[in-house]
């Protein structure tokens, strides 16, 4: 038993720098894996909308007509779910936090016009090895594929299709390709 057992610790603290940091005046050191904020490379993005559908907090909105991708910064929980599901890997969770704000920030990014790249995408084709299992239709985030097993019918709506490639990955017979 004793009193002032913490004495040594306190004396050492007197000669030490504070354990806290005057953030954000003094910038902090970011760890390599820190999940700070989501950033997007709009040049690679195909506006498939999977990130928006999978987002647990509905923070991401993808508008295919206006060719925009927007994120509600205050709603995003930095879970990296969108980064994982993105088929083109154009989303990155960067280490730095966004600046503090007094209103709810919505960041909108526009897809740059690049007609050559758009037309070079080709369209989805299915060859005769297809067994009409319908997995591609289930996988399609835009519901662009229609499969009717009885009539042996396979159809794709080119306007809806984003060429994300999820159907190609899921096809058990490897019958699908973009050309």
């Amino acid at each position: 038993m004793g009193s002032l057992k913490i004495g040594k610790m306190i004396m050492r603290s007197l000669g030490r720098k504070p354990a806290t940091l005057m953030y954000p005046v003094i910038p902090r050191e970011w760890k390599e894996r820190t999940r700070g904020h989501i950033s997007i490379d709009m040049g690679t993005c195909i506006l498939c909308g999977i990130c928006g559908k999978k987002c647990p907090t509905d923070a991401i909105t993808v508008d295919r007509d206006a060719k925009t991708w927007s994120i509600k910064r205050m709603q995003c929980i930095q879970c990296s779910c969108c980064v994982e599901v993105c088929p083109k890997k154009c989303l990155v969770n960067e280490a730095t936090y966004t600046t503090p704000a007094v209103y709810k920030i919505v960041d909108t990014f526009e897809k740059p016009d690049n007609p050559e790249a758009d037309s070079a995408g080709g369209s989805l084709k299915c060859d005769d090895t297809c067994v009409f299992c319908g997995i591609c239709a289930k996988k399609c985030p835009q519901a662009a594929i229609t499969v009717v097993r009885e009539d042996k019918k396979w159809e794709v709506d080119d306007d809806k299709c984003t060429r994300c490639g999820l159907c190609i990955e899921g096809c058990p017979k490897k019958s699908l390709k973009i050309e």
């Binding site: 038993m1 004793g2 009193s3 002032l4 057992k5 913490i6 040594k8 610790m9 306190i10 603290s13 354990a19 760890k31 390599e32 894996r33 820190t34 999940r35 999978k54 647990p56 929980i77 930095q78 879970c79 990296s80 779910c81 994982e84 969770n93």
Partner: protein
């Protein structure tokens, strides 16, 4: 007989980080009865299972609590994995165990700080939290988050940690031991702390068993109950023995948590040395269609995770029973007959987490 008075304690009280309300019936300065009431921060997280697909629900479940968030994520995954009959790779189980034990260290350090704050020892509170900060940095380095980690998923974990990094973390934790020892010695040996904790809020072994208390509250009264004994995760390989004290008072509850701090460092060291190579996740196919209950030993005690699936992407029901919920009857019992001045310390000794309790 002295006049009886009812004093409301909480939901807003300097000692309570989260809202619980107690009606204290007192005679002079002695508490005769305590009537608890909760329901101030119910968020309806269990109901969200109807809107979120089961793989995404783990992000919600992690947010049940900001302190034991990794354990909650693991408990949910364990329940759904049991439902689907998935076997998780051993490397993932080791990583989960390491993160869970790191979570225990940071939770116990937080609790020690809060306890010091409850009996008015401000500098002890600051030093406990200073050491806790180092553990949060380790979490950030390995998972990317300081409080919410988002690394646990059904079928394994999302991020791998290299063996070198694990050895580094283990060495850093071992380097913290002298400072931790110095800090915890203040709790065990300082006279002013002893005066506030020794012999206060005694619970006997029989009372603990009868009231179904869990976690450090039960272990401080000599009941060696710990879910980690069933060997989930990597605990079977690491060889685990629960920390038990016999006195049943506030000091015993403090000692159990202090022992667990050092035990967790040991477990992490063992796990970092013996972690096997291999995959960190398995591909999960299908949707859950049965019922399953998973149990976890959270820093505060035993927690239950029940999941019921109907073959669709949305689970039908999730139920979480948290350790604070189980410890409230024990708290009410230990408050009977205590001094009014000891109430804040006694409420703190069960390590109450009301957000967990109400979800």
């Amino acid at each position: 007989m002295a006049k009886r008075t009812v004093i409301p304690f909480g939901p807003q009280h300097p000692v309570l980080p989260e809202p619980i309300h107690l009606d204290l019936v007192i005679e002079d300065e002695t508490v005769v009865e305590a009537i608890p009431s909760i329901g101030f921060i119910h968020r309806g997280l269990e109901k969200l299972v109807e809107k979120n697909e089961w793989p995404e629900m783990v992000y919600v479940i992690e947010r049940v609590c900001g302190i034991c968030s990794f354990g909650h994520g693991w408990g949910y995954c364990k329940s759904v994995e049991g439902n689907l009959g998935v076997t998780v790779p051993l490397r993932a189980e080791y990583l989960r165990t390491i993160w869970h034990e790191l979570g225990r260290i940071h939770s116990h350090l937080l609790w020690l700080g809060l306890l010091a704050d409850a009996f008015g020892f401000e500098s002890l509170f600051m030093h406990s939290w200073r050491l806790r900060e180092k553990v949060l940095d380790m979490f950030e380095e390995t998972t990317g988050g300081r409080v919410i980690f988002s690394v646990c998923k059904v079928g394994g974990v999302r991020k791998d940690v290299s063996d070198e990094k694990l050895a580094e973390i283990s060495a850093e934790l071992n380097g913290m031991i002298p400072e931790l020892k110095e800090l915890t010695d203040v709790f065990i040996e300082d006279m002013s702390v002893k005066n506030r904790l020794t012999g206060v809020g005694v619970l006997s072994k029989e009372e603990v068993t009868e009231l179904c208390a869990v976690g450090p509250v039960a272990r401080a009264s000599g009941v060696a109950s710990d879910v980690r004994l069933d060997g989930h995760g990597a605990y079977a390989e690491l060889g685990f023995e629960p920390c038990v004290e016999q006195d049943g008072d506030s000091m015993a509850r403090c000692k159990v948590r202090i022992k667990e701090l050092f035990q967790s460092i040991e477990l992490i060291e063992k796990a970092a040395k013996s972690i096997p190579e291999g995959d960190i996740d398995v591909k999960v196919k299908g949707n859950p269609s049965g019922e399953f209950v998973g149990r976890m030993e959270q820093p505060r005690g035993e927690a239950y995770y029940y999941s019921k699936g109907n073959g669709s992407k949305f689970l039908e029901r999730i139920r979480v029973r948290t350790p604070t919920n189980a410890n409230i009857p024990a708290l009410v019992k230990m408050l009977q007959g205590c001094d009014l001045a000891d109430v804040p310390v006694l409420v703190l000794t069960i390590d109450p987490c009301i957000s967990c309790t109400e979800r």
